[in-house]
Amino acid sequence: MKISLGPILYYWTQEKLLEFYEEIAATPVDIVYLGETVCSRRHIMRLSDWLEIARMLTAAGKTVVLSTLALIESESDLKSLRRIAENSDFMVEANDMGAVHRLAGRMPFIAGPYLNIYNQQTLQFIASLGAKRWVMPVEMSLEGLQPLQQSRPAGLETEVFSYGRLPLAFSSRCFTARFHNLPKDDCRFLCIDDPDGKTMRTREGKPFLVINGTQTQSALMYNLLGDLDTLRDAGVDVMRISPQAEHTAEIIRLFRDGIEQRTSPETVMQQMESVMPEAACNGYWHGRPGMEQMFLASAVQHE
C-alpha cells in the first residue's frame, strides 16, 4: 500500500509552502500531488514555482503529480490547464472533464476525485482514455467500491481519500469573501489568513463545515486508518492524506506505521488524536452519512 499526499487545498504563503514541502521530502510518503485545485484567483505560486518543488521532491525519491483546478470557468483557467497538461516532466491529475479532454490519448493521467466515477462502465471508459490511476469519489463506500475493483482494467490503480477534511463541495461563490462582506473580484485574498480554513458551526456551537474560499469541507477529519484492513482487502493501492496546517508529517508517519503493522490500528488511532484538529469521522466508507464515526472494524461487530 502506497501513501500519497494530496494537493494543499488552502492558500498558504510561499514561505509556509516551501517549508512544508522541505519537511515532506523527509517523510515516508510515496506520491505527492502539487498545484492549486480550488481557486484560480490564488496566484502566489506560478507553474514554474510548482515545478521547482516538484524537482526537489523527485530528487528526494517521491513521485510527483501535478493537479488541475476542479472548477474551470474561464479562458484564462483553460490556459493554465493547457500549460499543466502540456508539461513533459510530470504526470497530471485531471479534476475536471476538460482536463481529461486535454490529456486523453496523449499521456497517462490520474483521474481525480471530482470526476464522479461511480460504476464499472465509467471506470473502464476513463481507463481506455489513458488513466493510470483513479481516485474514488469521497462519498463512495467500501461496498460501492468492491464491484469496481473486481472488474478493474489491468494495470489501473485505485486511490482512496483516507485522511483530512473532506472536500465536499465547490461553488463559484467565495464563502470566505462572503464572510468578509467582499465581492469575490475584490476578495483581497483573505483566505491566506486561514491556513486550515474557517470553521462553520451550527447555532448550537457544533463544528459542522469548513469554509475554504470557493470550497466547502467537512469540519470533522475523515480518517480511514482504523479501516486499513478493509482497504487492503479491497485491493486499494494508494491512501491519500490531505495536508493540514500542522502535523502533516507526523500523520504520514502514523499511516506508514499502521500500513506496515508496526502498531495496531487501535493504538495508531489513539496516537492520531493529538494531531487531529477535530474529531474523526469515517461514515462514508461504511455506507453511512459521512459525518458519522463507526467503530474500528476489528473492535466491533457491525449490524
Binding site: N116, N119, Q121, Q124, S171, S172, R203, T216
Partner: protein, 337 residues
C-alpha cells in the same frame, strides 16, 4: 439552410397533470423522470411510471411539444440495469432526448440507441467548453445544461468555443454549489444528488418547537432556528444559518430563487437554445403559472429584443411562487459570487 433559431422554453413535469399544464401553457419541451433513483428529483409521490410516461409523450407530441427524460444520477455498479432499462424505455416511448450525467450510460445509449438525442445534464458539472466538447466527441451529445455558477460573460465565452447547443436555468430553486460537485447532503444524511437523486431528503428532516424558537434539523444537525415572527424555509442544508467566528448568518446562501428574465435579450443574442425552469417537485399550479409568464416574456423578447423590458406584472406573478419571495440573477450577475 440553417433551421430558424428559436429559444425553447423547457418546463418541469413531476406528474402527468403538470406535464399537461406545461404543454397547454406554451412549453416547447417538458422534462420528466421515472419513479426511482435514476433522476435527481427522487421524491415520494413524484414522477412517472411507464404508462404515464407513454401518455405524457403522446399528449406532448400531439400538441407539438418535445419530451426529455431526466436520467441524471450516477448509477452504482449494483442495480445499474434500472438506468439502462430507462434508456430503452425512453427510446421505445419516442422521447425526444435523454438528459444524462454518467459517461458509462452515455456510452450505452449511444451504442444501443444511436438515434436517441443525448443532452449533458447539469449534474455533469461541465463549466467550460473543453469539458462539453469532451462529451460531444465521445458521445455526440447535442445539448449541454450549464451549472448555475457561470457569469453571463463566461457563458458567452463558453458558447463561442463549442458546437453544442446550450441550455440555461432561467427560473426556480438555486443551487449555490456546482451541480454534480456537492456531497454536503450525503455528508449529513447519507444521500446526495449524485448517488440517490435527492438533496436534504424529507425523511431526514425534523421540526421542533423549543424555548429558543422553532428548530429545523437534518439528521440531527441544526440547520436553522426561527423566531416567532420569521418565515420558515425547508432546511436545505446550504440555506441554513450558521455561525462563523461569532457571526450567525446565511453562511452559504439565502433562501432565494433564480430569475434571469431581464437577461433574455442577451440569451437570444448568443443563441442559447434552451431556457430551463426548475421545479419538478412543485405543483401543477406552479408549473402552469411559471410557464405562462415565461412564454409571454420569451415571445415578446423574440419579437422585439431591443425593446424588451420585464413587466412588473410578470415579476409579481413569479414572486408569488418563489422560494423565500426573493429573486436573484445568481452567478450570471458577477457580484453574486
Amino acid at each position: 439552410m440553417q433551421p430558424e433559431y428559436k429559444l425553447e422554453l423547457v418546463c418541469p413535469a413531476g406528474s402527468l397533470p403538470a406535464l399537461k399544464v406545461a404543454v397547454d401553457n406554451g412549453a416547447d419541451c417538458v422534462y420528466l423522470g421515472f419513479r426511482d433513483d435514476t433522476n435527481a428529483r427522487n421524491f415520494t409521490g413524484l414522477n412517472f411510471d411507464a404508462a404515464n410516461a407513454r401518455a405524457g409523450v403522446e399528449y406532448a407530441h400531439a400538441k407539438g411539444a418535445k419530451v426529455f427524460l431526466a436520467l441524471n444520477t450516477y448509477p452504482k455498479s449494483h442495480g445499474s440495469e434500472r438506468w439502462t432499462k430507462a434508456i430503452d424505455q425512453a427510446a421505445d416511448n419516442g422521447m425526444d432526448a435523454i438528459i444524462l450525467a454518467d459517461p458509462g450510460l452515455m456510452q450505452y445509449a449511444m451504442k444501443t440507441h444511436p438515434q436517441l438525442h443525448l443532452h449533458l445534464s447539469v449534474q455533469g458539472s461541465a463549466t467550460n467548453y473543453e469539458a462539453i466538447n469532451f462529451y460531444h466527441e465521445h458521445f455526440g451529445i447535442c445539448r449541454a445544461v450549464l451549472p448555475r455558477v457561470l457569469s453571463f460573460a463566461q457563458v458567452e465565452e463558453l458558447s463561442a468555443g463549442t458546437p453544442v447547443e446550450l441550455e440555461l436555468f432561467g427560473f426556480g430553486g438555486l443551487c449555490v454549489m456546482v451541480e454534480g460537485r456537492c456531497s454536503l447532503s450525503s455528508y449529513v444524511t447519507g444521500e446526495s444528488p449524485n448517488n440517490c437523486g435527492v438533496c436534504s431528503p424529507p425523511k431526514a428532516v425534523r421540526w421542533q418547537k423549543t424555548s429558543q424558537g422553532l428548530e429545523s434539523r437534518l439528521n440531527g444537525v441544526l440547520i436553522d432556528r426561527y423566531a416567532d415572527d420569521e418565515n420558515t424555509g425547508y432546511p436545505t442544508l446550504c440555506k441554513g444559518r450558521f455561525e462563523v467566528e461569532g457571526e450567525t448568518y446565511y453562511a452559504m446562501e439565502e433562501p432565494t430563487s433564480l430569475n434571469t428574465m431581464e437577461l433574455l435579450p442577451e440569451l437570444l443574442r448568443i443563441k442559447v437554445r434552451g431556457l430551463k425552469i426548475e421545479g419538478r417537485q412543485r405543483s401543477p399550479a406552479y408549473v402552469g403559472q411559471v410557464t405562462r409568464v415565461w412564454r409571454e416574456a420569451i415571445d415578446q423578447c423574440m419579437k422585439n429584443p431591443e425593446g424588451f423590458s420585464v413587466k412588473p406584472a410578470w415579476t409579481a406573478e413569479l414572486g408569488k411562487v418563489s422560494e423565500g419571495q426573493q429573486h436573484t440573477l445568481g452567478a450570471y450577475h458577477r457580484p453574486w459570487k
